[in-house]
Amino acid sequence: MGKVIVITSGKGGVGKTTASANIGAGLAREGKKVVLIDADIGLRNLDLVMGLENRIVFDLVDVVEKKCRSFRQALIKDKRFANLFLLPAAQSRDKNAVQPDQMKKLCDTLRDNFDFVIIDCPAGIELGFQNAIAGADEAIIVTNPEVSSVRDADRVIGLLEAEDKTNPRLLINRMRENLVKKKQMLGVDAVTEILGIDIIGIIPEDEKVLFSSNKGEPLVMDDSSRAGKAYRSVVRRLIDPNATIELQIEENGLWAKLKRIFAGGNGVFGFKAQ
């Protein structure tokens, strides 16, 4: 029996879709059977980030409304991994087309057929959010080290716990080590202290995220990318809860090396795992 994990944040634009694509692809790369659900009805995007936008026939709403024979008919097989599938969002419908109990049922079905069900949650805390979390066993909260995103994350954590979804884990995205060093950005310590939940990973700011979405290729396959590496570490922790978090995310290149020498540091974000 698989695990259903919702990727959520409250605030929009913090990196949920990017995280869903990379975690999904990363898990598939480790041999897991994975289905990604784009729950952002009306604002379909995960297909594009995954490079699967041209193959969509049926979508999430079709499955829920039983317009196709089974969920399998709506699943799009990934180009790169045979064990990775996408259930795309409906683009021309609104969020009311799906209700939480329907999502719950769908998740129950998928749980029996996959190792991991990853749900890309829409922004906000209304029905779209309620739908996305309804069938989830676990939640990953994506946040940026920035005030409004952290505040919204806190709100979402509260709402999740009110629904008995306990133990959400934190994914801090777009971390900029140099700013943290200058004390001009919330560090990992500060964010975890404020939100008080376990952390599952830290993704650095990386322009390759943009390049990869331009091409429709998840970043986890790119060994030279810092964000890609960080996502692989998140994936390892999803598979093995005891795997260590790689908090040491080093900048590549000569410039970064020089900076490190002058700063006297070694690229640690100032977070000490215990």
């Binding site: 806190d154 954590i157 709402l159 008995d164 310590d189 975890t192 202290e193």
Partner: protein
Amino acid sequence: MFDIMEFLNRIFKKNGNNGGSGEEAKERLKLVLISDRATVAPHVMESLKEELIQVISRYMTIDTSMMEMGLERKGKEVALAANIPVIGMKRNNRKESMEGAPPIASKPEPAKPAAKQETVKPVPKAEKPAKPPVVKPVVEEIEEEEEKPAFKQTVPVKNEPAPPAMEQDSDEDEGDDDASRSRKGKKGGRRYLARTSTSNSGRRTSSSRRRS
């Protein structure tokens, strides 16, 4: 454009005052989350209300239909405010529950106000004011010193921003899995922020429970 102040700041600040804007972000977030977290889901408030009614009813007959309670917010302060109209006192039960209190002698059984609210003469519906702060007690056996007709209580919900996080741990009750969950937080931030308020979620409710 060259900013002379910025330049001077860079030269002279460094390990000077209160760090950069990141520190400010952290402090501001901590403060705003105190009031953000001070919300209570309707069903939680409802069960709190029911339990309060049970407890107070051991001592007084109250008008539950006119009872009001909720969280009140003034700036950073959050308080649990309740306005509970009192119809009458129940001396008998009060005596039992106050240990060491001198026995109040010689009221014959049938005459005292019974524990059941229904036996108390009800306030005539028509006379009830729309807002209930003052409801005249109508039961005979009321004592003088207990004449306060309405029980108005404002319990401040503590929200001092930064108590030392670690020492909170010791007095936690070990069986509470909510508590053990929040204990996992690295620095206990949610823990101490959480304990400042009741809220719509387990972590905070449990934390505030731990306070008392």
